[in-house]
Amino acid sequence: MSSGIPLQYFLILATIMFFAGVYGFLTRRNLITILMSVELILNSVNINFLAFNRYLFPHKLEGMFFSIFVIAVAASEAAVAIAIIINIYRRFTTINVEDVNEMKY
């Protein structure tokens, strides 16, 4: 299926996605959109792992298992982050990072 497509194309695609996530992480102020940027970054790393595994080491499965674990970590991270965001919203009635500036309550 992946014949005729060089490995570099996958890596460049993942690079674009990664730096779109970095841009969003730097410019966004809403906590949920920051979380979405982090998901973009994690997803681009998964593409890299799978492309390396298929093109360079097709007789092994390391890249695939690593991306399974990355997905599991990303899922638990999203769950905890959203719990924290909802708790912050309850206390401050906003999830703008610049209005949430004290940890003491």
Partner: protein, 180 residues
């Protein structure tokens, strides 16, 4: 041009356009939907790489689970039609500069490096093999990371419940908000 190359170009265009739109759109619900498109086309890429299991995980867990979670929390915390105010042109320009510089640096490095593949025969990835290696204690087994990740998932589940549990509203308001 072969059909798989056309498919790759399609997925690549979708991922590029929608991931840029995810981080630049001013409406939060649209950002979530664009993120969904990015994740679905990523699973298409996994199908092209012949990792059906990963593509299924991507669809169910990312596109199904995480995006729904994000959309739910958007609906709980903000108005649907609410627009973000622009975050200042200075911040935008410097962030774009950092991102574009990093992207160009990485792409130049990728194009410069000569990747060398092994000559070994490709292995067919079926469910049987995945299950066997996930739970085997032999040389290519992954039972330890599997156990660690299951403990992590349990901890995350308990933590999410404990954090999101409702606390008393009156005493938790910050003094600053009380004054207003």
């Amino acid at each position: 041009m072969a059909s798989n190359q056309i498919m790759f170009i399609l997925f690549a265009l979708m991922i590029t356009v929608f991931s840029v739109l995810t981080v630049t759109t001013r409406k939060i619900l649209r950002a979530a939907v664009f993120l969904l498109f990015v994740l679905v086309s990523t699973s298409g890429l996994y199908f092209m790489l012949n990792y059906q299991f990963m593509a299924a995980i991507q669809l169910t867990l990312y596109a199904g689970g995480i995006v729904v979670l994000i959309i739910f929390s958007i609906l709980l915390t903000s108005h649907i039609s609410q627009k973000f105010e622009s975050s200042g042109w200075k911040k935008n320009i410097f962030s774009a500069l950092a991102a574009i510089t990093g992207a160009i640096l990485s792409i130049v490095t990728i194009l410069d490096y000569s990747f060398s593949a092994t000559k070994e025969a490709a292995q067919e990835v079926d469910m049987h093999l995945i299950g066997r290696s996930l739970l085997s204690v032999d040389k290519d087994g992954y039972v330890l990371p599997f156990e660690v990740i299951s403990v992590l998932l349990l901890a995350a589940m308990i933590a999410a419940i404990v954090i999101a549990k409702k606390a008393g509203p009156a005493k938790t308001l910050s003094p600053k908000l009380n004054q207003e």
